[in-house]
């Protein structure tokens, strides 16, 4: 993972695209790790009986992947303040979701740190699975950190 500082980030900076192969195991592992036992997230037959084409990723996993994507870029000192997402095309097994993101706003706080706003999109073969805004607090490159 990389790391960025408030004073080294500019509006318009892009995050490296992250393709995530959506295999069945990831969808099930995400559902179980988030304690989401809804059958549509692990049982293909029951998901189909409910009109879905297959099992699909639950929302908590989408949130978790976005959190990961943002701190992969921002680094361990970043604080995620807010994740606001709009949901679209389901993430079905066999597809790939590619996350992309860019810095859309920047607001300085105290001590040289501040808050940046990121626009994040997760696109799969059907369209936009998720479009969202993530707010992250970043420290200054010369900011104080525990030793």
């Amino acid at each position: 993972m990389s790391a960025v500082w408030f004073d080294t980030v500019d509006v318009g900076d892009e995050l490296a695209a992250l393709p995530i192969p959506l295999d069945r195991s990831l969808i099930v592992a995400g559902a179980i790790a988030s304690r989401d036992y809804q059958d549509v997230h692990h049982d293909a037959e029951l998901a189909q009986a409910k009109g879905s084409k297959d099992i699909f990723m639950n929302i908590l996993t989408t949130n978790g992947l976005i959190g990961r994507y943002v701190t992969d870029w921002a680094g361990p000192d970043a604080f995620i303040k807010k994740v606001a997402i709009r949901l679209g095309a389901p993430n079905y097994p066999g597809d790939t979701m590619t996350l992309t993101g860019s810095v859309t706003a920047k607001e300085a706080g105290v001590d040289g740190g501040g808050v940046v706003e990121l626009s994040v999109v997760g696109k799969n073969g059907l369209g936009d699975h998720v479009t969202g805004t993530v707010t992250v607090a970043l420290t200054a490159s010369n900011g104080e950190r525990p030793q």
Binding site: T71, V83, L87
Partner: protein
């Protein structure tokens, strides 16, 4: 959450046909009355924030941020110790396995859902999720969730069908009753747009190639007659039609109207391949007309077990569409059932 995700595009306000404006306003007022109501049931996390669950989460997400699992790295970071991934907020209070959603018991949200469903908005899809984190959670934190109905929209038209957006606000509190995070969750309860599955128009039967030699045959059928080509010189009948008599080589010909009686000389029952303009199994007979020529045609109302070689049949001319009539053969009298192999 169980809510299924789906594409929700353009939304505009609309009025619903089945209700009068007054009923519509009354329904909307009833929905609005729920806004601001607390569900009134605290949902406690079964376990405090803990590192095993954090590990399961970061493994599934492929998240290598060391602040979640590496004591030393976490202590050296701005977080000053192990923290839980913030997006894991909801996971700490998820309903246990084997406990269904009705287990909460009666509450305003369940009542609101019933009211909306009673108006036909029975399907559900999640549209938005907005999490705000007041602080990162640490191992040992004990999380409690309280839910408030935040908003109920007027009826909207969406790509999925007409519906109402319902937004709940879920506030998360720690063991000191301080808020640690909040989540706005919006679903669309909608009336599924009726799926219009167009019934494909049955393709017409293939058109015959109407040459100069054969046009009389189909024109005769359009008038309800089965015409047989006959040599004008020697009187020999021939079918299928052709330009020259095979007996005397005369090019002169006329037609004879068949009386329409005959015998099944042979038959075949076609199962595959299936062409959409025919019914299957498709019974095709070679009929020997009493006039002495043989003709290929379909059967009409002939049970498979009575379709036998030697059976007496009679002609029925049927219009199959506005420009085509064809000969069919039906049994003159029922024959004893002597089923033969189809293939």
């Amino acid at each position: 959450m169980s809510e299924q995700q789906g594409m929700i595009t353009a939304t505009t306000t609309t009025t619903t046909a089945p209700y009068t404006a007054d009923e519509q306003a009354e329904f909307l007022a009833a929905l609005q009355a729920y806004v601001g109501q607390e569900i009134g049931i605290d949902q406690h996390g079964p376990d405090p924030v803990n590192t095993p669950m954090i590990r399961h989460w970061v493994e599934a997400m492929g998240d290598t941020n060391p602040i979640y699992t590496d004591e030393a790295a976490a202590a050296a970071s701005a977080h000053r110790g192990i923290v839980a991934p913030p997006t894991m907020l909801q996971a700490w209070v998820m309903r246990p396995f084997g406990v269904d959603r009705d287990a909460l018991g009666p509450n305003p949200y369940a009542d609101l859902t019933s009211l909306v469903e009673s108006h036909g908005f029975t399907s559900v899809v999640a549209s938005n999720c907005e999490q705000t984190y007041d602080r990162y959670l640490r191992p040992g934190d004990q999380i409690t969730l309280r839910t408030v109905i935040d908003d109920v929209s007027a009826e909207k038209t969406t790509a999925l069908g007409a519906g109402h957006f319902i937004t709940t606000r879920q506030d998360y509190f720690d063991q000191n009753d301080e808020r640690v995070g909040s989540m706005l969750f919006r679903i669309l309860k909608f009336r599924p747009a009726p799926k219009v599955t167009p019934v494909p128009a049955r393709p017409r039967r293939p058109r015959p190639a109407k040459t100069e030699d054969i046009a009389f045959f189909f024109e005769g059928l359009m008038e309800g007659k089965l015409l047989i080509q006959q040599c004008a010189q020697c009187g020999t009948l021939r079918h299928p039609p052709g330009p020259m008599c095979r007996n005397c080589r005369s090019l002169e010909w006329t037609t004879l109207e068949s009386a329409g009686n005959g015998t099944i000389h042979s038959f075949v029952v076609v199962h595959y391949p299936q062409v959409p303009s025919f019914d299957y199994p498709n019974q095709v007979v070679l009929v020997e007309l009493d006039e002495g020529i043989r003709l290929v045609a379909n059967t009409l109302d002939v049970p498979r077990d009575q379709l036998v070689i030697g059976a007496r049949v009679r002609l029925v001319v049927e219009r199959v569409d506005e420009e085509l009539a064809l000969p069919f053969f039906t049994l003159t009298e029922p024959t004893p059932a002597t089923r033969q192999d189809d293939r």
